[in-house]
């Protein structure tokens, strides 16, 4: 009971601070200096039409590298924590019977979902989208396959190879930027091209394709680890 009272008092205090912040806030009328820099110089410097993509991949590319590292760490720790449960004899898993609608529907939907995910991360620099969204959609296609066929053994080797190769190429492109162009993860190692077409914005499509594949592979491996842990 005292825990509830203490929690309520603490949250009332936080609520007072939040209300103070809320009443002192009025929306801006013009962009602040850094946003104005991004708005004016994105098209000229990077050639990308999606300003958020340009910020994530080139202007603040180091943060994205950190995020990809954190995701890799997460996938590795989940696989490690659930490892002793997945050491099982090579017998077929007794899956529960899956309905025919789900199996047929999966066969129809999985190619379409994969195509959609690939489209989103290839066009990341032109329309809203990008590597993270496309990777999540790819992982949901893998998820559908997992649900429709629970007795199938999942190819962990292929997924981990995709993940490692994508990460390695990402770093290789970054170092190439150091050697050939302005700095680490600069996108001017490839020609900037014509504004608004697919093969434009230098190395941004390439980097985002690699990020999308890596993120999709990581989410899939997290879900495969969870689904293969043993029913004790």
């Amino acid at each position: 009971m005292t825990k509830r009272i203490l929690a309520t008092l603490l949250l009332l205090g936080m609520g007072a601070i939040f209300m103070d912040l809320l009443f002192g806030y009025s929306p801006d009328t013009s962009l602040n200096t850094s946003a104005e820099f991004y708005a004016q110089n994105t098209a000229a410097d990077t050639g990308a039409a999606n300003i958020v993509t340009a910020i994530i991949v080139t202007f603040r590319g180091l943060d994205t590298l950190g995020e990809v590292t954190v995701l890799f760490l997460t996938a590795a720790i989940v696989a490690l924590v659930l490892h002793s449960d997945t050491v099982r004899p090579a017998r077929a898993k007794q899956g529960w019977p899956v309905g025919e609608l789900l199996q047929t529907g999966t066969r129809l939907l999985v190619p379409l979902i994969t195509l959609f995910g690939a489209y989103i991360f290839i066009n990341g620099h032109l329309t809203p989208g990008g590597g993270f969204q496309g990777g999540a959609i790819l992982a949901s296609a893998v998820l559908l396959m997992l649900l429709a066929d629970p007795a199938r053994r999942f190819g962990h080797g292929l997924i981990s190879r995709i993940e490692s190769v994508s990460g390695l190429f990402y770093i290789a492109i970054g170092v190439l930027g150091l050697l050939v162009a302005g700095g680490f993860l600069d996108n001017r190692i490839l020609p900037l091209g014509e504004f608004g077409s697919i093969l434009s914005a230098g190395a941004i499509p390439l980097i985002y394709v690699l990020v999308g594949l890596k993120v999709g592979a990581e989410f899939s491996s997290i879900m495969a680890s969870l689904s293969e842990s043993e029913d004790t």
Binding site: N50, V52, T53, I120, P128, G129, G130, F132, Q133, A136, I137, A139, S140, L143, F219, I222, M223, L226, S227, S229, D231, T232
Partner: protein, 85 residues
Amino acid sequence: MNNMTLIFSLLLAVAMIGTAVMAIWPARSRAIAILAAGAVSLFASIMFLLLAAPDVAMTEAAIGSGLTTFLFFFVLGRVRRNEDD
């Protein structure tokens, strides 16, 4: 037109707070709490669209409302099969 967006965002805000209260109400079953959290993510994704952020709306819908709900239900299924309550 501006009035319409204002009323719509007010409705969304009320719906979001209602589903959030349902997500932490202790008397409900765990499955309903997980579904309510997924619904909060969905309403937040629509509000991101109203705030002129299409990238963030897409990411929140795919990751927050899709993959997170699935992860929760996986673990809930394992735990329930062991508990048998």
